[in-house]
């Protein structure tokens, strides 16, 4: 898919397919090296670097078809086989975009009760093959960067921010940056040493750390004490949902929402629900009555359909199915999809009236 610039190579593979039909040459090449396949994006875990007691950085070597052109701050989908089944999540890329190293890094914190994050942090052996989804997301460092920036970070929300800071460091273009980073304790602070080093190296970078177990949470009314000119800065906030809600509210109250950029790690279905209706799954002839708040994916699972799924938050597109007929509404923003045979993301859409899906 990414080899559009190298046509002869594509031609070789097409010719090779005459020998391997109905399979693809990649289906055989992956026997030699699991990364030699562009049928699905894959990666190999090269190293697992512990960051804190409950967080680790996974260094991944992507296989054929990967593009190293991710923008600092974007996230990727990662699919890992747990008990024989691929489970998908999305994580920010913490490494800066740089092609020649041939690897990307994501940093993962094991969530309590988070089956997959725990597995990623503690259970992954180097050499494990994972599936990948291409980088996505709008929470990115603009190019050129704003003259004055403020980062408000909570917990593992540091991961997209470290990618931005590393990029600024590598380019040697660190503008006037204030980083406020809250974490329960010093020990739980991912990248603490590196941030301290960066702050020492760059005059422009000011690093505030707050240990909320000892000192309590940041009161946004006191934001001026940490950063006197916060109103004049472009602000990038990333962290737990309640923190982001508070930040958004504060900026709105100050009429500054145009200067605020947020990254949420959980799905927020803020849009209006659908009206509900009967969803028909055409291959099985199964139907289910679904209300406007239930996603098509959940409805399908309730009906006993083997629905494909990934991140369940509208990111990875693993769950995309063809809407044969009818209308669905995107619960995040209220967009409606009603073209016949349109691909829709089932994990974030709900039925508006009766609809039919191709599965």
């Amino acid at each position: 898919m990414a080899n559009s610039g190298t046509i002869p190579w594509e031609r070789v593979r097409r010719a090779g397919a005459k020998l391997t039909t109905p399979l693809h040459p990649d289906d055989y090449l992956r026997l030699l090296n699991p990364l030699w396949s562009s049928r699905e994006l894959r990666g190999r875990i090269e190293r697992v670097i512990p960051e804190t007691d409950d967080a680790a950085t996974l260094v991944i070597r992507p296989g054929w078809g990967w593009r190293y052109d991710h923008r600092p701050g974007q996230y990727v989908g990662i699919g890992v086989q747990v008990e024989g089944r691929f489970q998908w999540r999305s994580y920010s890329v913490s490494s800066p975009p740089k092609r020649d190293r041939g690897t990307i890094a994501i940093t993962v914190r094991a969530m309590p009760e988070g089956l997959l994050s725990g597995h990623l942090v503690k259970g992954l052996e180097p050499g494990t093959i994972v599936r990948l989804a291409l980088p996505e997301g709008d929470f990115v460092l603009p190019d050129p960067p704003p003259q004055r920036m403020l980062f408000l970070v909570g917990g593992s929300g540091i991961t997209p921010v470290i990618a931005m800071l590393r990029t600024l460091d590598r380019r040697g273009t660190m503008p006037d940056v204030v980083l406020h980073y809250s974490s329960p304790s010093k020990g739980r602070m991912i990248f603490r040493d590196e941030l301290a080093r960066l702050a020492e190296k760059h005059h422009g970078l000011t690093f505030h750390e707050l240990h909320t177990d000892a000192d309590g949470m940041l009161d946004l009314a006191d934001l001026g004490e940490i950063c006197r000119d916060w109103r004049e800065r472009e602000t990038y906030a990333c962290g737990p949902g309640p923190m982001l809600d508070a930040v958004a509210e504060h900026f709105e109250a100050n009429d500054l929402e145009d200067h605020l950029h947020l990254e949420r790690f959980s799905l927020q279905l803020g849009g209006e629900g659908g009206e509900g209706g009967t969803i028909t799954f055409r291959n099985s002839g199964k139907t289910i009555d679904s209300d406007g708040a239930t996603t098509v994916l959940e409805a399908g699972e309730q009906a006993g359909i083997g629905m494909p799924f990934g991140c369940r938050m509208g990111i990875c597109h693993t769950c995309t199915l063809t809407l044969v007929d009818g209308t669905v509404r995107d619960l995040r923003n209220g967009d409606e999809y009603d073209n016949p045979n349109e691909p829709v993301q089932t994990c974030v859409t709900a039925a508006v009236g009766d609809c039919t899906l191709d599965i």
Partner: protein
């Protein structure tokens, strides 16, 4: 005599049949719950082995035939490797993946929705003719096109015509060319002959078959021979042989599924308002197993567990062996027949039926065991000499909706007919 009511035939009350259904559901739930890393490792390992065999076979034939010293052993080894790979791919991998047995892994590379197998029939048409038509309407006269595949008369209830006198010949041809016979199966030539087939659908299917068949022929009979240069004839011959071996093997295995004595046929009265439990019961009565070691079962796609496969078409095939122990116990508990035997006996019975039914009913007698172990068999009306009713095949629009556990099928226009 075809069965019009499975409950009555099995001497079970409605409550007993429902209880049987619940017990079968419980086994399904238990297996679904316990699917895990070992099962995933099994199918991944098998795919690796099968692709390794394919590569080894092609290379052996390509390189080994170039010198006259190695030619003979290379051909023998190459043919064996290629035949093995095709058999594994078609039976234990392709057939089972397309049933959706591995969909639970959420692995887009081993999924029923996009698997294409190494044989002439397009996967989409197979999923329709097999997953839906055969598995849902198993052995129901007029509904299941697999009773003789429209070529052979395999049930005494099917009308005899002088055409059937040639059955032994058609049978041999079908065995040799099995791949191509299967590729035409979903077209439903009977309907085409009668002018009942939608011409648009027919054109679409023919195009699909042509494209798939062309690629298969090009690969085995043009490209690989051409790559062998002066030895093209040797490689061509080897490829033809390996395909024929695969054809014969799949033919034998598939004919052991429903044609041995003991696998019963059903009339359309049975599927009127058939409950899920009755469907289960029909699968037990309509299928036949064969016995063998683990290697035989893998080489036959675990279709020696035909009864278990028909009860749970979408559970992983590597679990059928353990499931079969439970099913046998249930059959004993409910006093149901569980048809099984050695492979040669099962195939022998199928072959005997093919030959016997080439003649009209009046000249032969039935081999079906009519009674289960219970003392009072139902009253059997005398068998008609040759049933007058012509049970023509049904189109999808004349069939009930499909059951979910059979595995998916998909095609444009399916919604219009559904």
């Amino acid at each position: 005599m075809a069965i019009s009511d499975v409950k009555e035939y099995a001497h079970l009350t409605e409550e007993e049949v429902d209880q049987l259904g619940r017990e079968l559901d419980a086994i399904r739930a238990e297996i679904e719950e316990s699917r895990g890393a070992d099962d995933a490792a099994y199918i991944n390992r098998l795919i690796k082995i099968q692709r390794g065999l394919a590569a080894a076979g092609r290379v052996t034939l390509m390189a080994g035939t170039q010198s006259s010293k190695t030619r003979k052993p290379a051909v023998a080894l190459g043919v064996a490797l290629l035949a093995l790979h095709k058999i594994l791919e078609n039976m234990e991998i392709g057939h089972n993946v397309m049933h959706g047995q591995w969909d639970w892994m959420n692995d887009p590379e081993i999924h029923s929705s996009n698997w294409e197998w190494d044989t002439a029939q397009p996967a989409e048409q197979w999923k329709h003719s097999h997953n839906y038509v055969h598995h849902q309407f198993t052995n129901v006269l007029g509904y299941d096109n697999d009773i003789g595949y429209g070529i052979l008369r395999m049930a005494r209830e099917q009308k005899w015509s002088p055409y059937n006198l040639g059955q032994p010949v058609y049978n041999s041809l079908l065995a040799l060319l099995f791949e191509w016979g299967v590729s035409l199966h979903d077209l439903d030539i009977e309907r085409i002959r009668k002018g009942e087939k939608d011409p648009k659908e027919m054109k679409r299917q023919l195009k699909q078959i042509f494209r798939k068949g062309r690629n298969q022929i090009l690969k085995d009979y043009v490209v690989y021979p051409a790559l062998a240069g002066r030895q093209w004839k040797t490689v061509l011959g080897a490829n033809v042989t390996s395909n024929i071996i695969r054809n014969l093997w799949s033919y034998v295995i598939i004919f052991c599924g429903h044609f041995p004595d003991g696998a019963m046929h059903f009339t359309e009265e049975e599927i009127e308002d058939e409950s899920r439990s009755e469907w289960y019961l029909r699968q037990i009565l309509g299928a036949a197993n064969f016995q063998g070691g683990p290697l035989l079962h893998i080489m036959s796609g675990n279709l020696g567990f035909q009864i278990e496969h028909h009860l749970y078409p979408d559970l992983p095939s590597n679990r059928y062996a353990e499931i079969s122990v439970r099913i046998r116990e249930l059959c004993e508990k409910y006093d149901l027949p569980y048809t099984t035997g050695p492979l040669h006996r099962q195939y022998g019975q199928a072959l005997r039926t093919i030959i016997k039914l080439s003649l009209p009913n009046s000249l032969t007698s039935s081999d079906q065991p009519f009674e289960t172990a219970r003392p009072s068999p139902p009253q059997e009306p005398p068998e008609p000499p040759t049933p007058a009713r012509d049970r023509k095949r049904r189109a999808d629009s004349e069939r009930p909706h499909r059951r979910r556990e059979l595995g998916g099928w998909s095609r444009a226009g399916a919604a219009a007919r559904a």
